[in-house]
Assembly symmetry: none
Homo-oligomer: 123 residues x 4
Amino acid sequence: MLNIQPSAPEPIYRQILEQLRRLIAAGQLAEGEPLPSVREVAVMHAVNPMTVSRAYGLAEAEGLLKRLRGKGMVVAAQSGRTRSQSERLALLEPLLLALSRQVQELELPADLVLRRLGKLLGE
Amino acid sequence: MLNIQPSAPEPIYRQILEQLRRLIAAGQLAEGEPLPSVREVAVMHAVNPMTVSRAYGLAEAEGLLKRLRGKGMVVAAQSGRTRSQSERLALLEPLLLALSRQVQELELPADLVLRRLGKLLGE
Amino acid sequence: MLNIQPSAPEPIYRQILEQLRRLIAAGQLAEGEPLPSVREVAVMHAVNPMTVSRAYGLAEAEGLLKRLRGKGMVVAAQSGRTRSQSERLALLEPLLLALSRQVQELELPADLVLRRLGKLLGE
Amino acid sequence: MLNIQPSAPEPIYRQILEQLRRLIAAGQLAEGEPLPSVREVAVMHAVNPMTVSRAYGLAEAEGLLKRLRGKGMVVAAQSGRTRSQSERLALLEPLLLALSRQVQELELPADLVLRRLGKLLGE
DNA sequence: GTGGTCTAGACCACG
DNA sequence: GTGGTCTAGACCACA
């Protein structure tokens, strides 16, 4: 379910946290749904349990997850409602802005970039 | 010329370096063109001169810039030739891939994202 | 009778145990009085029976409760005698100390805090 | 400046975080003021640097602190403005509620508790 | 079984 | 000098 790249510049715990944000916002992780345990994720992705725990803890502090004592983490209620398309699009905005800045610096024509992205999204 | 955000997660020296790569690849910084001095950049953006120097140093090691004694940095010859569109598009690939992954996690329709990006690029 | 908050940071078994201490010290639970069964408490508060059992077990070890075969738990004799006011006030001391430390860190005037607490106690 | 009790039930990183919240709310830590470095706090209180770092990191995520790269942490701007008395009193509310619940369970007269607290606050 | 906390120590990134 | 990340491993608390 989670996609972790240990060699990426972005820290692992943050990769997990941000994926959780998106998966929950999209409703792919529904309200009340239990998450894989810290240890499971740690073994599956060959990372330290504490790294996973850190991501889960931050997600809990953010209100995304809820701790059921002795039973693990589940998706919190208020996050469970799938967000509207526009709310989800807003989560993408920072990346879109960075992209458009780079496109301008590279002086690339808009349609070329849009075609390339369209191809990636179509796959 | 440079666009620096000290509070961004990406380190400042890297922001500078990657902008130089793109501006040079696009030919916005032409071969032989002199760059603002380390001190100028540092003062203008309220940044530590060492940080700017580090970016310039890396760009020099990469062959993007050339150090002219007593005259500062200029855009190096071999980098000066503007790269082809496809080469420049390749520089954008990592960001496009990250974007498409996030779009899938957010379960957003491709055309919505393309329209939003098109709007940003059209401005 | 018991006031349990499963989502509070304080563990559930401890919430139960400490409430028992106070209710018995005040004589609200009198000597020989039977307690609700583990199952009753568990069902009523939607809590794991093991958790209730643990609290009861600790209370028994402390001499607060006594196990009567086949009849469940009752308030033990030596605990049953209501403690003096000063003894009961002593049970409050840790919380009062924590409170006074926080008041100082918040630089709040004593009378403001006393008025607010007085209002809460008056209700 | 910080008051840490390693043996308390409350985890160390949380003790630090909550003290920061109060000290900043009261203006005892003013806007822009630099905090002692992670290593200093760690040595001074004989705890692991990571424990301190965790508290600082959470405080940053909360917007209490701001990271100045290479220079350490300072009190963030929006937190710097000393909060009004009523806002600070609100931070005390959870503890006051817990206290009043315990007072009722102990069947202690309000004025006795208020006198004891007044004495503690007067010192 | 679950997650939480802490440590010691290594290594990195930044300025 | 600053903070950040990660690991391995120990131990605890809870259900």
